[in-house]
Amino acid sequence: MIGVIARRELQGLFASPLAWAVLCVIQIILAYIFLSRIELFVQFQPRLLGLEGAPGLTDLVVAPLFGNTAITLLLVAPLLTMRTFAEERRNGTLNLLLAAPVSMTEITLGKYLGLFGFFMLMLLLVALMPLALLLGGPLDFGQLGAGFLGLGLLIAAFVAIGLFLSVLTDHPTVAGVSTFGALLLLWIVDWAGESGEASGVLRYLSLLSHYEPLLKGIFDSADLVYYALLTALFLILTVWRLDAERLPR
C-alpha cells in the first residue's frame, strides 16, 4: 500500500512540469559550480604537486560540489514538499486517501517515500558529475560515498520536516515558507553562541555540523543517529497530526 501511494506521488510529480523544471535548474546550477571547481583545480594543480599531503581531486571538487548541492536542496526541497498534504487538502483529494482502507502511517510513509525517491533520483544525476572525473583521474571513493550518504540523510530530514509543515496547513505557500524557514534555521543555528554555554546544544542541533564531517569523509555514527532521529520525529508528528485531523476540536 505504501508503494502504491509512493508511486502515485512520483507519478504526480513527473506528470506536472514542476519536477522536470526542478531537475533541470538544479542540474544547470550544479554543473556550473562543478565546472568552476574543476577550473580552479586545474589552475592550482601544478602548485599542489609539490606539496606533501595536498588536498586531492575529491577534496577540491567533489566536497564543495556536494556542499553546494546541500544549499541548493535547502532552497528547492520546500517547493516540492509544500504540495504534498496542503495541496491535496485544498483540492479535496485528501478525502480519497482518508476514506480508503489505508492507515495514516501508510499515507505518511507513502508520500514520504515518493518524495524521497524523487530526491534520490536527483542526487544520482548529481553524482554522475563527480563520477565523470574518473575519466581523468582517481577519486577517493570513501569520501565520495560518505558525502553522498550525507546528502541522502540530509534530504531524508528535509523531506520529513517539509511533510510535517505541509500537513499543518492547507496553503501550500505557507507550508513552503515555513519549511524553508525551519530548514534555514536548523542550518545556521550553531552560528549563535560560538563560545557560550549553549553552543554545545546548538551545535548538536545544527544540520550543517553533522553534514560537514561526512563531506570530509569522516563517518561518525552520532551523525547518522542525529538524522535518523530528526526524520523519525517529524514523520511521527505527521502521522499524529493526520490522525488528529478527523477528531473533533
Binding site: 500500500m1 501511494i5 502515485r8 507519478q11 504526480g12 506536472s16 480519497l96 476514506a99 482502507p101 473533533p248
Partner: protein, 319 residues
C-alpha cells in the same frame, strides 16, 4: 434481518469547537435500499456523511459498517465503503485510467480482477471513451462520473454519494439516477441532495436533517401516500356561500383563493370529493374544475425546515 443491515449509526454527535453540527443522528441502511439525505445547506448532511465514511470522527456515537465497527477497525470497515465527497477527489494531472487504477489499488482490489473491475466500472459510468484523457481536461459532467466511478470501483457494500448530480445537465442527471437505480441491486446507497424531486425519483427512504437533527425518517412511498390527498382545488361558476361548502362531510377548511376558486382541505380520514360533486350538481353551482391538491415532498420539507404551519398551497397559480 440483521444480516442485511449494512450501516448502523447510533446517536452521532459532532462538534466543531462550540458549534454542534450534528446531534443524536441515528440511522440504518439495508441492502438494496437507497436512502436520501435531505436538508438545507449547513444542516449537517455532509458532516454526517463524512462520519459514516470515516473521514471525520464523531464526537460521540457508534457506527458499524457491514457489522464492523468503523472506529475500532477503520481499515476493515472502510473496505466496504465507497465515498464520493461533495468535491470529487480527482488528480487533474492523471488520465482517467491512471486515476482509476490508483483508486483500485488503494482500495485493495485483487490484482487478478483489476482489469475487469476497471472495464465494468467504466462501462457503467459511461467513461469508456475518455479513458486516455487527462482528468483536468474533462468537462464537469465527466469529472463527476469519474468521481462516481471511483466510489463504486471496488464494489463496496455501501456507496455514499454527496450531492452526486450537482452541476450536471438534465440528461446527465437522468443517467446518474439510472445508475443509482442499478446500484441498488447489489449495494446500499446513501445520497444527499437538496433537489427534492430527486429524492422522490430514486430514494426508498428519506431522512430530513435540519439543524443537525433528524426531523423525519420515513419511506418515500409512505410519505407520498400519506400526503397525497391533502385537499382539493375547485372552481365554480356560481359559487354558493362558504358555509355551504363547509357543511359538506369530510371538509376541514375552505379558503377562497379567487373569485370562483376555492381550496378545500379535507379531514385526515375523509375524502369530500364525491359528496362535493353531488352537492354541486344538485345546487347547480357550475363546477368546472376540480384538482386534487397533492402535498408534495417539497411542502413537507418546507414545513419541517421552515417551521411553517399547514403547508401553503403552492399550486394555486398553476390551476
Amino acid at each position: 434481518m440483521t444480516a442485511h443491515i449494512l450501516i448502523e449509526a447510533r446517536d452521532l454527535y459532532r462538534y466543531y469547537g462550540g458549534l454542534c453540527a450534528v446531534q443524536a443522528v441515528s440511522l440504518t441502511l439495508c441492502r438494496g435500499e437507497v436512502l436520501g439525505f435531505l436538508g438545507p445547506n449547513g444542516a449537517g448532511k455532509t458532516t454526517t456523511m463524512q462520519m459514516l465514511c470515516g473521514t471525520l470522527a464523531p464526537s460521540a456515537g457508534d457506527i458499524s459498517v457491514n457489522g464492523l465497527d468503523l472506529l475500532a477497525e477503520p481499515k476493515k470497515a472502510k473496505a466496504h465503503l465507497g465515498y464520493l465527497p461533495e468535491h470529487p477527489p480527482l488528480y487533474h494531472e492523471l488520465t482517467v485510467d491512471e486515476f482509476l487504477l490508483y483508486c483500485a489499488r488503494i482500495h485493495r482490489v485483487p490484482r487478478a480482477g483489476l482489469g475487469q473491475a476497471l472495464m465494468r466500472t467504466k462501462r457503467r459510468t459511461g467513461l469508456e471513451a475518455v479513458g486516455g484523457r487527462l482528468i483536468g481536461n474533462l468537462s464537469k459532467g465527466y469529472r463527476q462520473r469519474v468521481g462516481i466511478a471511483q466510489a463504486i470501483l471496488h464494489s463496496p457494500a455501501v456507496v455514499v454519494l454527496d450531492e452526486p448530480t450537482i452541476g450536471l445537465d438534465p440528461i446527465q442527471i437522468r443517467e446518474i439516477r439510472d445508475l443509482i437505480g442499478e446500484l441498488r441491486a447489489e449495494h446500499g446507497v446513501i445520497l444527499s441532495t437538496h433537489i427534492l424531486p430527486e429524492v422522490q425519483a430514486v430514494c426508498d427512504r428519506v431522512l430530513i436533517i435540519h439543524e443537525g437533527r433528524v426531523v423525519l425518517d420515513d419511506t418515500v412511498e409512505h410519505l407520498t401516500r400519506e400526503h397525497h390527498l391533502a385537499g382539493l382545488c375547485i372552481a365554480l361558476r356560481r359559487p354558493p356561500g362558504i358555509a355551504y361548502l363547509h357543511a359538506i362531510p369530510g371538509v376541514a377548511e375552505v379558503r377562497r383563493i379567487g373569485d370562483e376558486r376555492f381550496l378545500i382541505r379535507s379531514l385526515p380520514d375523509g375524502d369530500p370529493a364525491e359528496a362535493l360533486v353531488e352537492q354541486a350538481a344538485e345546487g347547480r353551482w357550475g363546477l368546472y374544475e376540480m384538482v386534487p391538491e397533492a402535498r408534495s415532498l417539497e411542502e413537507t420539507f418546507m414545513q419541517i425546515t421552515c417551521g411553517e404551519g399547514p403547508a401553503p398551497p403552492t399550486r394555486e397559480a398553476a390551476s
